[in-house]
Symmetry: C2
Subunit: 397 residues, 2 copies
Amino acid sequence: MNDLLLRNVRPFGEAASDLLIRDGRIAGIGHFEPDAGMAVEDGGGAIAIPGLIDAHTHLDKTTWGMPWHENNRRAVLRERIDYERENRSAIGIDPHRQSMRHAIGLAAHGTTHIRSHVDIDPVHGLSIVDGVMETREKLKGIIDIEIVAFPQSGVMVMPGTLELLDAALAQGCEVLGGIDPCGIDRDPKGQLDAIFSLAVKHQCPIDIHLHEAGDLGAFTMELIFERIRANGMQGKVAISHAFALGMNDYLRVGQLVDEIAALDVAILTTGAPSATVPSVMRLKQAGVRVGAGCDGIRDTWGPWGQPDMIDRAKVIGMKNGLRSDRELEHMLHIVSQGGADVMRIDGYGLAEGCHADLTLLSGETLAHAVVDVDPRPLVIKAGRVTARGGVAMVEMP
Amino acid sequence: MNDLLLRNVRPFGEAASDLLIRDGRIAGIGHFEPDAGMAVEDGGGAIAIPGLIDAHTHLDKTTWGMPWHENNRRAVLRERIDYERENRSAIGIDPHRQSMRHAIGLAAHGTTHIRSHVDIDPVHGLSIVDGVMETREKLKGIIDIEIVAFPQSGVMVMPGTLELLDAALAQGCEVLGGIDPCGIDRDPKGQLDAIFSLAVKHQCPIDIHLHEAGDLGAFTMELIFERIRANGMQGKVAISHAFALGMNDYLRVGQLVDEIAALDVAILTTGAPSATVPSVMRLKQAGVRVGAGCDGIRDTWGPWGQPDMIDRAKVIGMKNGLRSDRELEHMLHIVSQGGADVMRIDGYGLAEGCHADLTLLSGETLAHAVVDVDPRPLVIKAGRVTARGGVAMVEMP
């Protein structure tokens, strides 16, 4: 029975009340006495928000919990991809164990939903997806994991990948990925035609990595827009990173953002500190759905990152030059409701009837909670406590 | 007696050894037995480096430990400055108490030396400097504090400020500050002539805030170079922020960097995530002295920041796109030896004869230590333990 009385919390920083949870859903917000034998938690007056959402990560890549991975290789995207593909097994990056560590780390810090891209390539077939699917099964009730069938090494330059993506979607990946149709695949028409056709076949959404910057990325976005229109996929496509939207051309970016809003394309940002990134406040003004993610953490690509969406909110907020309380509140929105909007999560929120997926936050106000460094006091998934004080209730493998 | 045997540490990540400390200095590195009654600490095999250096901060501004300061004001530099000057007392930002909190926070996280700019303006006279000087006295033996007499509100636009700066230098501020001679003072020749003349009078170094970006900041830098040459102040001037060096003009930046190297100007960076910042690797190649700082933390200007130079190393490293182990090692160099080079700290280092100011780091390697999130296991100042596991031995007011 996922019943719980969570006493004395401040929903979204408002006045303190109790949350009554029955059958894993919020049954009431107000002041309640527990049923006989009902579990009771004291929220201590902490802020409550719906569970954090990591809407762009790579559960299959991290070296978290493994010996330090020394990296003095060149920082070239294609070389990073090839190095990882050829060496991930030898390094010992077991997809199941490592995705467990990554996902449990996220849960420990208040995340209740993940969208993870998972590598698919002719060397590994679907074995990496299998490992992450095993994690998804094991962590049911702790954290929800949505899997993007992700052609990390490219589609057109890696014959056999398209067939593997097709099989992965048939086997339960919910979303189809893509990557830099120009930069990685050297054939934007080829990759995008193939990807859109496969998405139509499986009636699934698309979430495409677009590191391409400036005019190159803008060109690729236009090709994406054309295919959304042609296939009637409005509201079904997300662009991750979208570095082109950070280019220094106000009018050109405005045209792209207008199209993004018109076609209801979602944008996922990681706030990449050394790249040009989309302005989250500009996208808000345009009414675009925006979510965020931790991206890869401590993997063969680079050493940065933590499995913590509040830490990521800091990174994105600082990169975006956000300072005011209202802006910080919006930053918190992006790492929670924003991700739910992108992933179309049913029953997400703190209202009566919503799933009881939530996290408490330390801090006096929502803005304070974004910059506070203390761990989340309590995390709840479907009415059960999954983490306390930054420590998950499930053991790390 | 500041004698201590620090056993089993790895200096700069090398093989484990003991550090023998006598009279607050490193007397030997090797394997030792303690004298009778000598204090002994077990380093547990942790990495040891010299104490971290926050070479650009504002001890007098933080609201750390105070109720959350809501901020929905406009993000305009001049307005931030005026708001702070007119409201800091009413808000309750007591310069002594707050500088204590800020400095003790830094010490808790491994910092042993601070260069702090401290506001001087006609409204407050030298009262803010007095508060920070009181902190400097109280924290002797815990952390060294160097004070920059800082005309936060401007020099030419704030009559009376120059005389106050003169008095502050006479009373024990070691460095003369300056700020945006164009952007804030609207009179670059006026401010720079006044500042350089005062520095010559007091035979003190200059550390000037330069937020001015692009061609404006480049112009101001040229005016600074001219005055360094005219006054023979090579090696005596630091430029903080230096956002102009982040402009997107490779050749123009190269000319500026060449001059900076030729005149031995030091650069202090905070890695401001939403600004154009100097490339630390480019400055390294040019042989420029580079230090770093946390800048203001959680003040009326903005909510970001922590009193932790490892956290700041992350911010700067991510902003600079650093990923390799060698680059991360250099990042660690900047927040330690780099700051010492800028501040010309005597006897800094881990060699025999150096002051026993050091911090242990969690992490397997130096690169790992930059991204690790655990607190510093042990911090030592002049041979005495000043912090353990992120908690300072001195009480926070």
